[in-house]
Amino acid sequence: MGMNELLMAFLVGGVLCLIGQLIMDLTKPAITPGHILVGYISVGALLSGLGLYQPLVDLAGAGATIPLSGFGHSLTQGTLKAVEESGLLGAISGGVEATSAGITAAIIFGYVAAVLFNPKG
């Protein structure tokens, strides 16, 4: 099962990136990486809310969770779970709770990298 799992991660992850490339190359030139990231997290969160992202995660594992749409999926799933547990407050706290490790890691590693390294260009 190991190889198959890796292959699915490769294929689905690759296709998700390919879609991003097509958006950048074929639509307006003003689409920057920032727009792509915002788009993926939002669409991922939305699809997750509609119940459409979990099947992709079941199919492809990291192929669906590593792209930023997977981050959106985690946000939504965290929110939905917290709503079940604590209602309205959960709607506000659940998303960040579920993704806190990633967000904090990005900020801390970003800060440390800035301290340690200089931009080389």
Partner: protein
Amino acid sequence: MTNQKKQGSQTIVFENPPVLTSWATIVGPKEGEGPWRSDFDWVMEDYEFGEKSWEKAETKMLRETIKLAVSKKNYTPEDIELMVSGDLLNQITSSSFAARELQIPFLGMYGACSTMAESLLTAAMAIDGGYFERAVAAVSSHYYTAERQFRFPAEQGVQRSMSSQWTVTGAGAVVLEKGIYGGPRLTCATIGKIIDMGQKDANDMGSAMAPAAADTIKTHLNDTDRSPDYYDLIVTGDLGKVGSALVKQLFIKNGVVPEPNYSDCGVLIFNDNQDTHAGGSGCGCCAAMLCGPLLKKMVQGKIARLLLVATGALMSPTTSFQGESIPGIAHAVALENL
């Protein structure tokens, strides 16, 4: 005619054309790898130039270029009466910070990449007007200072578009003096109008600037009653591959065909294999080409009449975010061996 120094609608003609008595250029490492290495005075080994930030490096590059141009005629900065200078950064800090140390009376210019021509013609007006005898016109641009102001952080993994141009790291300075010396003279100049054809792609400034270049060249030829072949070379500032292809089509539309004596500094400055996509841009682009190979060729007599048409795209990140189109401008200066 009450005004003899202006000819036609936008062209000023100098009574005693100021002489370009000395000039210098310092460029970055990538420019040094291009076809003109031996024509530049100095090629920087890295982008820091011994400074702590890229902005400081750009200031130093501009300052040293001016010092070098001045010292070539055995002047010191105190001998220079006026410094007309600009760059691409917010509040043109590279220029004012260079002027802070040089202590030359200073006029700051902003014309984006057209600043070299703008500075030259302003300095020439000050001299021909009889106010000054000796002035320096200078500009600078730096790939990384421009990149972080207008585009992305250096370490972000971004794919550059095929029409995007590479901001030249380079500074150029020209000392202009009253017309009692020998050398190339600045005989006339055409001040361009802003032309905006609604182009919005900040990664394709060549397309935004090409109509302005075509308009200024056409106006210049009309005002001076000259045909394109009057000049040995008509060279635009930094239209790059896309913009210069467009401007050639606009020439045909305008009934002006300066080919084959037309070229573009943005196309010339790099080799094709340097992966710049559409060529060079930035104030430093035409400044380095002018103060490097072009003026050298004028001294050697290979070019007797040169029309330099520096082009600028006058947008800012703010206006781009607000959905504004890019206003283009082009100023022409005629340099002639009389």
